[in-house]
Symmetry: C2
Subunit: 410 residues, 2 copies
């Protein structure tokens, strides 16, 4: 949580944090700005003080909506200070120096965060360390201080995550209903009332519109049918018609429009009926899902949850990441990941990650799956969960887990 | 153009370029990958050679669609090489080293590009320069080598820009028509058939859907009415009903869905009728638009075009950026900017930018405007232009420049 930042700074020996990066979405800026729609500016956090935001004049109203102390570059006297300076590097250094001093940071170790062009970061930081000897400008490899803070969500963040979850489930409901309103040919191709095949592209367009109507944006949904469902990263082929009796993996991970909190859900559907093979595989994935929840414990290492699932799948004869690293069929991925402003955050639920433990405020996915592309099938079922203030693991994805999607048209 | 990259490298004394940055959209990666939808991976360009792309196994098909030589990290032996290495910094350095060597870069000056978390860039580049003494890893301040290459577009890029322009103009047409299908109350509030006021939020939802239907995404449109139109950066208030006789500045700058080429267009509309003040101001802005086009010349400095407009507006008694820096009314911004994969690129059309000249392959906006918020009005008219292979300045925004939008309902 944001309340951890001061401690995390102290652990890294930082006297201050400088969040820069210019235009373009930055999860760290969004995080600190409490959801205010700022597109630029810098945020400085001095050890022991509240964050300070410095923006262009045109964004000052939005900046004030962040709840942070906000001033403009003009208020700070930046324009006058650089009026005679033409060298862009010296101007950039001056901006950083004036911002730090405005925030009361006169010297010390400054951690640099935010997101920017790699070439620009290298040049700027070299110049800062050359020209401002009272400071030391440092970085850190991912996962950073902010990755650690974001492991646990505060109540405002939880509210937003719940709301994105609710809206996403509405989209699932609408999509289910949209498909159900179709019929099928004798050879099992799903068609509309004009006899035109319903394609994966049609579904994705429908879903994107449904998301947009709810102020959400698609970040790369997966709608993969048959053999494609057997490849976890296949997004599906737009021109492929939907067919009866095929496993369809539908993985939807939208975020708030313009950038913001995510939801992540996967359902496996088989239209009209499901083959015996898919039913058996689906049943095992659902068992794995229940086993995951049983393996939860507040403060327990996350890898133990994945190990419970690995034990179960291996016991049923499936290759796994653990028993056969590099396997292309069976249970070929980890069990889950954190999410928030980023689709992938900590904690990780993987047998290779020994350090992560479940904590109050976590928001994580649980997503067991089995993949057999050579048998033309794949199954994954995923909910997003939170660890409540009472320490309980709670799904925030109430959408039904039915496998067979019946068509009303037939 | 991409064909300039080798020369631009040589000018900077670079033996190679390394484009990194992990997940997350990167204009440089998109540029080099010729539009293939790669979400990660690195691209290396050795002096004198074609670019080489290295990706995760799951993206290899998409990587091949880029037309570049593509291999996976697995092909390169990365997994085996780091199997015994747990330190994440050493692993990251190893990845860069193996990638460079795979591309035939054994030593020398390597320019680092792409987009990444600032903290990660600092750490990685420090480690690279420490641990790989045969190389020197360098950056450069924006605008970079790629900014310079992107000044001029090749035929494939032009085609995409033209197509985004065409689809954007369809959206303008549909939006005009959508508004025209409404009526108004006696006090001049625009309403639908149920008598519900039509708000700016309704318009924006309509526009976003129309964009999505054409595989475009909104990146922050402006629909500002009355006094708000007098503030160039005001995006407009969502709950404000549309009214008759108010100047409305509608600035739409969408891009291809998922990231890609942009279009940028502004129209000023006044519903039902226009006030005399707005008509006079609009007429002057339209004259400024024509003066801009007359001031064009292949190879001419861009600032001369802006100076022609400044002369005209100042001659008509308006404050400008030049005559009154910091003025909040009159002609308060520059005349235009380049665009492509980024909404703001070179060249710039500003009286403060003396170095930019018009070149074949440029794609630029021309957007004169006048702003009088205290009089409750603002006007801007903008097309996107290209400089053709014949050296001519050609608008790619054919949508009509009518001011008055008549309602069919009244």
């Amino acid at each position: 949580m944001k309340s951890d930042i001061q401690r995390l700074m102290a652990e890294r020996g930082l006297d201050a944090i400088y969040v820069g990066g210019g235009e373009g979405y930055s999860d760290v800026r969004d995080y600190l700005a409490n959801g205010a729609h700022i597109t630029g500016g810098v945020i400085i956090i001095k050890q022991g003080s509240d964050p300070v935001l410095i923006v262009n004049g045109m964004e000052i109203e939005e900046a004030k909506a962040s709840g942070l102390q906000a001033v403009t570059y003009g208020d700070m006297g930046y324009m006058q200070a650089v009026a005679q300076i033409t060298d862009p590097t010296i101007r950039a250094v001056k901006m950083v120096e004036m911002s730090l001093k405005h925030a009361g940071v006169e010297s010390g170790r400054v951690g640099m965060y935010g997101r920017d062009a790699i070439n620009n970061t290298i040049s700027l930081v070299n110049a800062l360390n050359d020209q401002l000897p009272d400071y030391e400008f440092v970085g850190e490899l991912h996962p950073s201080l902010f990755s650690e803070a974001m492991l646990t969500k505060d109540p405002d963040e939880m509210e937003r995550l719940l709301d994105v979850a609710r809206r996403t489930c509405e989209v699932l409901e609408a999509t289910w209903d949209y498909i159900a309103g179709h019929s099928a040919t004798d050879d099992g191709v799903v068609i509309d009332e004009d006899g035109t095949p319903l394609t994966i592209g049609d579904i994705k367009r429908y879903v994107r519109r449904a998301l947009l109507d709810r102020e959400l944006q698609d970040t790369g949904m997966i709608f993969a049918q048959g053999r494609d469902a057997g490849f976890p990263h296949s997004r599906g082929q737009a021109d492929m018609p939907l067919k009866l009796g095929q496993s369809i993996v539908f993985d939807l991970f939208p975020q708030e429009l313009g950038g913001g909190y995510h939801h992540d859900v996967t359902r496996t559907w088989s239209i009209g009926y499901a083959s015996d093979a898919v039913k058996i595989i689906y049943d095992q994935v659902m068992q794995a899902f229940d086993i995951s929840i049983e393996a939860y414990g507040l403060g327990k290492p996350t890898h133990m949850m994945q190990e419970a699932v690995l034990d179960f799948f291996e016991g049923n004869g499936h290759p796994t990441q653990r028993s056969q690293p590099g396997a292309m069929s069976g249970y070929v991925h980890s069990l889950g990941h954190g999410l928030g402003l980023n689709i992938h955050e900590g904690p990780s639920i993987s047998h290779l990650r020994r350090e992560d433990v479940f904590q109050i405020g976590n928001c994580v996915t649980i997503e067991p799956g089995l993949y057999y592309p050579d048998d033309g099938l794949g199954v994954r079922v995923e909910d997003t969960f939170v660890v409540t203030e009472q320490g309980e693991l709670q799904s925030i994805t109430p959408f039904k887990k039915d496998l067979v999607l019946p068509l009303r048209g037939n």
